[in-house]
Amino acid sequence: MVHNRLIKNYLVIGGIVILLMMVFGILMLLAQGGGLSLSPPTFYQFMTIHGTGMIGAAALAASAVMWYFLSQHVTLSKRIFKANLILFLIGLVLVIIGVFSFDYASAWTFLYPLPTLSAKAWGIIGALLYLFGMLIIGIGFLLLFIDTGRAIIRKKGSLAKGLGWDVIAGKKAEKDAPEPAIIAGTMVTIVNVTALIAGATVIMMNIIHTINPAFTFDPLLAKNLTYAFGHVFANSIIYMSVIVVYELLAKYTNRSWKANKVFLIAWSMSTIFTLMIYTHHMLMDSVMPKWMLIIGQVFSYANGLPVLIVTAYGTLMIVYKSGIKWDMSSGLAFLSMFGWTVGVVPAIIDATIVVNHVMHNTKWVPGHFHMYMGLGAVVMIFAFMYYLAKVDGGLKITKLDWIAFFSYIVTMAAVSVQFLVSGALSTPRRWATHTPEWMGPALFGGIAGVFLVIATTLFIVHFVRYVCNET
């Protein structure tokens, strides 16, 4: 199989980091719930490492999903793929040192001028370690997406053709449409290269400001660039992972998942929307031009929907009367589509400006993204792990895996719903300390989280068994 060694490394590292970060999540919830005493600085260090680590590790593992399937259609560079992994690890080490040895705790969004002006909560060294760590991780991913972009252009002629615009325009027959892996790969390349350009600019800006605070920058532009980076990059995770749903279901049902015009249009729409809607993070910034905020609102409703709808519909269609055999990987793939669908609902509610004025910065927000990340994107990654273990390693599934499967659903749902309930109670997000009336849901979520970690451990153990068997 294609470069399996590296794919496995990506997934093992990604999986283990996700698992570790879950532990920090639980510690945070327990602290907020009053079951554990953490000093606020420690809480914010945990929150910073949890956010950074989760997004980084999920993106890393998701890029392996994308790489695996994309490389079956276009020629990708193995050296670049390896370089990305190495740069990721270097960056991660810098971030960890910055957070734990030098008390850096700005949250993963490092919003200017927080990295520099922390009221002495941390020093210059911590900030620089963190920022350079992020820069290095970003460079790795940039190289990766440059490679995917160039490979797609080489094969198809242009990114426009990678998205099948010639088919949409009727210049080419539907049967010659690009494969789903290429379409998704093109979309992710476009949005992530954009995100990483914005990210590199704003990270370098923060570095300059940290070294010499006399150079000040426009904070509103900084916030725009920061979210243009953060929102888009975090969003891209699900668009990389979803490729496994297409490929896996096609293989399992012996049917092919062919892209038709509607499918192509949906992916193009989501490409554009994803780039536009980061402005929903600015709904409270009254100085932003109104039209931008309206775009943020309107398109946040619509953002993931096109791809979500064609994928969910396609999933039902391809499975319908196919006589598919349900196993862990197809079960997880199916679950992930369900989780994604359910997970966007709270986001849509929150993206309404009127609602946002109430829910903004409550725990409703982590409620939404834990649901669609935890029950959607991350589940796709686990589906891929089981898929590889089976298709490539022929590894059998045990009862324990199924127990893990169902416990995962219940406990991840509990963790997400707990956030939503807190949000409905107007509990602010990112508060280390909760008042007694806010504590209940957090404590409950913390306890559910413990079982979630056990379930996730079982997933990873299964994959590691396959990795060890193979070599």
Partner: protein
């Protein structure tokens, strides 16, 4: 080619030209520097330069060196000091043609990914510099006033727009063209 390069170089060295180009910040940055780089490019011409083949076979070493020199001259501080310190001025007249020379030698040798990476980096670094020059309230240079800074910022911003449009044109319409190996 080589004669042209030398002629160019002598012209740029001529006191009148040198002083008038350096008296205005935007000319200093966006005319004198690029012309000095051009001298190196012309000097290189289409020759093979055997002595470079050994250590700059794949172009990576040469390119990294060139980029290093470029970054040095993109720091506002360097240009400012070149006006007052003669050593730095000499270094400028030596290093920038060298940069052009190395660039020309390395560009066709390095891989496509490296090229794209450099291109995209210029995009974000020029954006950063535009932001810095246009936005920061402090006067960055001793020798140039703050409104000159703004002009330089505007030029950086325009280059970002040009680079961006060109990138979009390449990836959406033209494709990699003859550049694809």
């Amino acid at each position: 080619m080589m004669k042209l390069a030398i002629l160019f170089f002598i012209l740029l060295l001529a006191p009148v030209i040198r002083e008038s180009l350096e008296s205005v910040m935007v000319l200093h940055m966006f005319l004198q520097l690029p012309l000095l780089i051009l001298v190196g490019v012309l000097l290189h011409g289409n020759r093979n330069w055997r002595f470079l083949e050994k250590w700059n076979d794949n172009g990576v070493a040469g390119m990294l060196l060139a980029v290093g020199v470029l970054i040095f001259w993109m720091l506002p501080r360097s240009l400012d000091d070149a006006l007052t310190e003669i050593e730095l001025e000499i270094w400028k007249f030596a290093s920038l043609p060298l940069l052009g020379f190395l660039w020309k030698n390395s560009w066709r040798k390095i891989g496509g990914i490296f090229k794209s990476f450099l291109y995209i980096n210029f995009l974000s670094m020029f954006g950063l510099l535009a932001w810095l020059y246009l936005g920061t309230p402090v006067q960055i240079c001793n020798n140039y006033l703050i409104n000159e800074q703004h002009i330089v910022g505007a030029v950086y911003l325009s280059s970002v727009l040009v680079l961006l449009l060109n990138l979009l044109y390449i990836v959406f319409f033209r494709g990699l063209g003859e550049e694809a190996e």
